[in-house]
């Protein structure tokens, strides 16, 4: 078949094809030219240094942990945060001698927020030797799409961010999905409660038309009656939708006194702009899920956060750590490794880092407990860990056969951006 490509050049195509091949067989390997999100030189140096520093000879083949997240795009910051948390934990583990005499290694794949890529990543990870688990990303839709592949290949899926209830409640038994993150089922109730607590009794629901939106829709809709309020209306927006004025206005016209927003960074920013575009007296508070914090929305338009009353869910804050010693240690490492120092607010998307950090350590405990990297046994071991004193909280136990969500409502707090863009608990801001 003759192919004629508009504006293409054969050499370029060949080069790109090679890149595709490279991406298919080995993306995520540090130093691979095809890996667009390879570790920075600092991170690589950090990994090498801490690998050799303990002076013990490790087996040649490392135990691999995959990272399948959006490493680029508007939610790329979430992937970065997760990766940093995972790498900090892996570094600590490797510094402590590794697992089963073998070094841990993180293999990163970028699903860009696209489920198809996520699935393919899972498929690719499934073929990767010595892979124990795959850490997921921010995107519930991707995670939801990967469920079948995960279970088909019996890959332990560690959820550090995606909050979709069905991710964990996926119907698979044994369930290979474990999560340290918010659960939408709880988030919906939490957000409604917070709204009511602020005297907002007629929220409008502005939801992303994905499984995550629908997950929250169900949660919120279940929570509203519990708190004796009704929503003013529900509006859905699409991925990459840039203009939200219409949807926002429809909710306001319906009498919404607040907006319960379920959006990631790109679309969330569009909502903020739409709200900021309204006259101040017509603006209403936005109580948002945490998806927006997966991207660097603040630096894109800091003015918005002065004009819009935005609070959003967080499960962890380095400003109010539940385990201060661990937190300080981690922050120090964070500063050393990633050269981000001087301000807690400089740790981007902190929940991603914190959740990933705890997940890797819990996984390490499970591997040690299982004495093998066999994923089936490791999965079972995860359900059998009695306690883990983690960064986010003390998990006692982290997971059980019936509960694969390690966090609950007690871990939730509303947060907001400070004027410098740091994410801080809302009550802390109010206190200050």
């Amino acid at each position: 078949m003759e192919h004629w490509v508009v504006g293409s050049q054969l050499a370029r195509r060949i080069g790109l094809a090679a890149a595709v091949v490279a991406l298919a067989i080995g993306p995520g390997i540090p130093g691979t030219a095809a890996d667009p999100y390879q570790l920075t030189s600092v991170e690589s140096q950090f990994a090498k240094t801490h690998t050799k520093s303990h002076g013990r000879k490790l087996q040649a083949l490392p135990i691999r942990i995959g990272l399948d997240a959006a490493m680029t795009g508007t939610a790329g910051q979430s992937g970065l945060a997760i990766e940093r948390g995972a790498r900090l934990a892996i570094a600590e583990i490797n510094e402590a001698g590794g697992l089963l005499g073998r070094e841990l290694e993180l293999v990163v794949k970028n699903h860009r927020g696209i489920p198809a890529r996520g699935i393919d990543n899972i498929e690719a990870f499934a073929g990767l030797a010595n892979l124990v688990a795959v850490i997921g990303g921010l995107h519930t839709p991707v995670a939801l799409a990967e469920i079948d592949s995960i279970h088909r290949h019996r890959i332990i899926y560690l959820g550090p961010w995606a909050a979709g209830t069905p991710i964990v409640d996926n119907g698979y038994q044994p369930n290979y999905v474990f999560r340290i993150s918010a659960r939408d089922e709880f988030v919906g109730s939490f957000l409604v409660k917070k709204a009511v607590g602020r005297g907002l009794r007629k929220p409008g629901l502005l939801l992303w038309r994905t499984g995550w939106g629908r997950s929250n829709y169900r949660a919120i809709m279940d929570a509203l009656p519990e708190h004796g309020i009704h929503h003013a209306g529900v509006a859905w927006f699409n991925t990459s939708q840039r203009h939200m004025a219409k949807e926002l206005q429809s909710l306001l016209d319906a009498g919404a006194d607040s907006i319960l927003l379920v959006a990631n960074a790109g679309e969330g920013l569009a909502v903020l702009r739409a709200m900021a575009a309204l006259p101040p007296q017509k603006r209403v508070p936005i109580l948002s899920h945490w998806g927006m914090t997966g991207g660097d929305v603040f630096s894109r338009d800091p003015r918005l956060f002065d004009e819009v009353d935005l609070t959003f869910l967080q499960t962890y804050s380095f400003f109010t750590p539940t385990a201060p010693a661990k937190s300080r240690k981690l922050v120090d490492r964070y500063c050393v490794v990633f050269k981000v120092c001087g301000s807690l607010g400089a740790i981007v998307s902190p929940v991603g880092t914190a959740h990933a950090y705890d997940l890797v350590h819990i996984l390490a405990r499970a591997i040690r407990a299982a004495g093998t990297i066999d994923r089936k046994q490791v999965r079972a071991a995860l359900e059998r860990i009695d306690r883990h004193d983690g960064l986010v909280r003390t998990y006692a136990p982290p997971f059980t056969p019936d509960r694969h969500d390690a966090l609950d409502k007690s871990d939730f707090r509303m947060s907001r951006y400070t004027v410098s863009g740091a994410i801080v608990p809302h009550d802390l801001v109010e206190t200050q």
């Binding site: 078949m1 003759e2 004629w4 490509v5 508009v6 595709v20 795009g73 038309r209």
Partner: protein, 728 residues
């Protein structure tokens, strides 16, 4: 044998010589024109073809861009993008959306699929499973570029669906070959349109052209094609072609038209020549024919009547004018010829009469010898020769007076002592005679000869010689003889004079100027002789009372005009003019017209001779107390003495023999006699140095008499009594 004239010879020459050349020239012009036009039209055709190709490429580009734009719009739709993410629920809203999806420009024939980044179909408006796992599509999407593919069976558009800047899916639109024309926005036309890449022909409205084009066979001259790259779609080319016979139909038509025009022109040229023959050559032929007819005419009285163009009319007029002059010359020559014939006849008559005259002269008792102004003998009689003892051969016309005198001396008739002195005296005596002279010559033999010499106006003179003893006995008989001889001589002489006058006065053209001059001289000589003889005869008849005047009703004005004409022909009028002043109008008189003309001619000739140069002699004709007065008026000179003497008192000189009378005196005496014969009186009035007037009066016929005469003449007219027109 006279060669028969071919009326259309010019046409035949034109047809045989000019027409082939013209045909060759026209064919050459036609060939050159055809070549130029063919080159121009071919170039223009190629240019038009290139323009069509450019337009076609533009149309293809626009159409493809339009389709791409539609697909881009679809690919950029946030619902589509959302479907890339919303795996969970997209099957609820994407398939229905795609089921009836159409792309502008493709219609129902377009197949649309929505794939993920690996080319796996998410949704489509047809069963697109065949596209699943198409490696090439994954590669295309991974390139993140729009992709357009055509092969001989179908076409394909791939437009990536971008999410956060990366190609995460694609809208794939395919269409069957049957839709190519719609996709390319090409409408059916005469020209072949081929859309191709360097490797493959995508669409051809004419498969045969596509086959030839791809096979590399030579297209020319069967096809004329032009190529143009589709803007925005490098590598895609539009070829517009047309069969030569169609593309260059204009040339063929033009060539046919040109051939037709050449044939038409040749025919038109032939027709033109024929028309020229009809309207030009034929008039020329008629013209020439009439010229030939004219040439065969005797009197040049035919005129060219052929007509045609203005040029012919001018030519005809010029020829006719020439013919008029030619006719005049011819008539003049005829007149001259007649005059010469008349002269010949007259000369013959004169010879005859001269013989009679000579006989009469020979019978005269006197010796007669007429000398010219050069003192040479014009004529003589034998009596003259014998009277002086000379042989007749010694006195012939041309013999000089001196020779005659020497002969006399030689024969011993001179008895003096000084013959030379005698000879000189006699020659001098005859030199410049102005009036009659008579002297007596006594010969040595005892005879006494009375010699009378009468000078003529031109210097000649008439001498009569008679022995004095004879004079008395022959006097009476002399006048009778003169009358008899003069009458016999005068008639042919008058004929000669009239002929010469007509020839002299008639329009002899420049070519006959010499002849005219000679004729004029001859006329004047003859007229002088005639007048003298006429005067001699008239006076002789008057003395013998046998003069009869033939009086008849005469138109006086016409008669006077005729007289003036005669005098002008006779006299030298180079310095003195002659004109008629008449205040009478129509005047009739009963006179002898010829005699009266002699009177007037005598008076006018004498008046012109005595008039100073650059003056006019006026003949005034007027009524004076119921009479008609005819006056000859001379200004600036005195009345001649001889005239005054002759007209004063009774100066008839009856005792002087007629031949002894000077010519002038004789003429005036005759004039006086004639005027008195008409009941008039010849008068003269003069004022010193102011001029003089000689006049006489005649009775005018009364009006009543004239009316009667006219009535009688009218009665003789045969006219229709019922019609007054003829009379009027």
């Amino acid at each position: 044998m006279i060669k028969q004239f071919v009326p259309n010879g010019l046409l035949m020459r034109a047809l045989s010589r000019v027409l082939p050349l013209m045909i060759l020239v026209m064919l050459a012009i036609g060939f050159a024109t055809s070549s130029i036009v063919e080159t121009t039209v071919t170039r223009q055709t190629h240019a038009n073809m290139a323009e069509d190709a450019r337009f076609g490429a533009q149309a293809v580009g626009n159409s493809l861009s339009g389709i791409l734009s539609s697909i881009r719009s679809l690919a950029g739709n946030d619902l589509i993008i959302n479907a890339l993410v919303d795996v969970e629920a997209r099957d609820a809203y994407i398939p229905p959306f795609f089921n009836h999806l159409q792309v502008a420009g493709l219609g129902l024939g377009g197949r649309i699929a929505f794939t993920d980044y690996r080319g796996r179909v998410i949704a489509s408006n047809w069963n697109a499973s065949a596209m699943t796992d198409a490696p090439w599509l994954a590669q295309v999407i991974d390139e993140g570029r729009e992709y357009l593919q055509f092969d001989s069976a179908a076409g394909l558009f791939v437009v990536p669906v971008r999410y956060q800047g990366a190609a995460e899916g694609a809208i794939v639109v395919s269409f069957p070959k049957a839709k190519f024309a719609d996709v390319f926005g090409l409408s059916a036309g005469k020209k072949v349109v081929l859309v191709s890449t360097p490797q493959v022909d995508i669409y051809a409205s004419d498969p045969e052209f596509a086959r030839i084009f791809r096979s590399g066979e030579k297209l020319e001259p069967a096809w004329i094609e032009a190529h143009s790259t589709v803007p925005g779609f490098s590598g895609l080319q539009v070829t517009v072609a047309e069969r030569s016979e169609v593309a260059l139909a204009a040339i063929y038509s033009l060539r046919s038209a040109l051939n037709g025009a050449i044939v038409f022109s040749i025919l038109a040229l032939g027709a033109g020549i024929a028309a020229a023959a009809l309207f030009t050559t034929r008039p020329i032929s008629r013209f020439a024919s009439e010229l030939r007819n004219f040439g065969s005419s005797k009197d040049f009285d035919q005129r060219i009547t052929a007509s045609g163009s203005a040029e012919f009319n001018d030519l005809r007029a010029a020829f006719n004018a020439m013919l008029d002059r030619l006719q005049t010359v011819s008539q003049s020559h005829k007149t001259l010829e007649d005059a010469y014939q008349t002269r010949e006849r007259t000369e013959q008559a004169l010879q005859d009469r001269n013989a009679e005259f000579s006989q009469a002269i020979e019978n005269m008792a006197q010796g007669l010898c007429v000398f010219d102004s050069g003192q040479r003998v014009i004529m003589s009689n034998d009596r003259f020769a014998s009277m002086y003892g000379l042989s007749p051969e010694g006195v012939v016309p041309g013999t000089s007076l001196e020779d005659i005198l020497r002969s006399r001396i030689a024969v011993g008739l001179y008895g003096g002592d000084d013959p030379d002195s005698y000879l000189r005296d006699r020659l001098e005596a005859c030199q410049g005679l102005e009036s009659q002279s008579i002297y007596y010559d006594e010969l040595c033999d005892g005879r006494t000869i009375r010699i009378s010499r009468v000078p003529m106006p031109d210097g000649s003179w008439v001498s009569t010689h008679e022995e004095v003893d004879v004079v008395a006995s022959t006097e009476p008989a002399g006048d009778d003889t003169l009358i008899q001889v003069g009458g016999q001589l005068l008639e042919p002489l008058e004929t000669l004079v009239e002929s010469l006058r007509l020839a002299s006065a008639g329009g002899v053209e420049a070519g006959a100027e010499m002849a005219g001059s000679l004729v004029g001289m001859a006329y004047r000589d003859a007229e002088a002789v005639r007048r003298y003889l006429d005067d001699v005869l008239t006076m002789s008849r008057a003395r013998s009372d046998t003069l009869e005047l033939a009086r008849a009703q005469t138109d006086m004005v016409a008669s006077l005009n005729e007289t003036i004409e005669r005098v002008q022909a006779f006299e030298d009028v180079s310095e003195v003019g002659l004109r008629l002043e008449e205040t009478v109008g129509t005047a009739q008189s009963e006179v002898d017209d010829i005699a009266l003309q002699r009177v007037m001619a005598t008076l006018l000739s004498r008046a012109m001779r005595s008039s100073p140069p650059n003056t006019d002699v006026v003949l005034r004709f007027a009524r004076k107390a119921d009479r008609l007065r005819l006056a000859v008026i001379v200004e600036g000179s005195n009345v001649p003495p001889d005239l005054e003497m002759l007209l004063s008192g009774d100066a008839r000189r009856e005792d002087v023999p007629i031949l002894d009378l000077p010519e002038t005196d004789l003429a005036f005496l005759v004039a006086r006699t004639i005027v008195e014969g008409h009941g008039g009186t010849l008068n003269i009035e003069a004022a010193t140095d102011l001029g003089w007037t000689c006049f006489f009066e005649l009775e005018e016929l009364e009006r009543s008499i004239l009316d009667e005469i006219e009535a009688e003449r009218v009665d003789e007219v045969d006219y229709d009594s019922d019609s007054d027109v003829a009379y009027l």
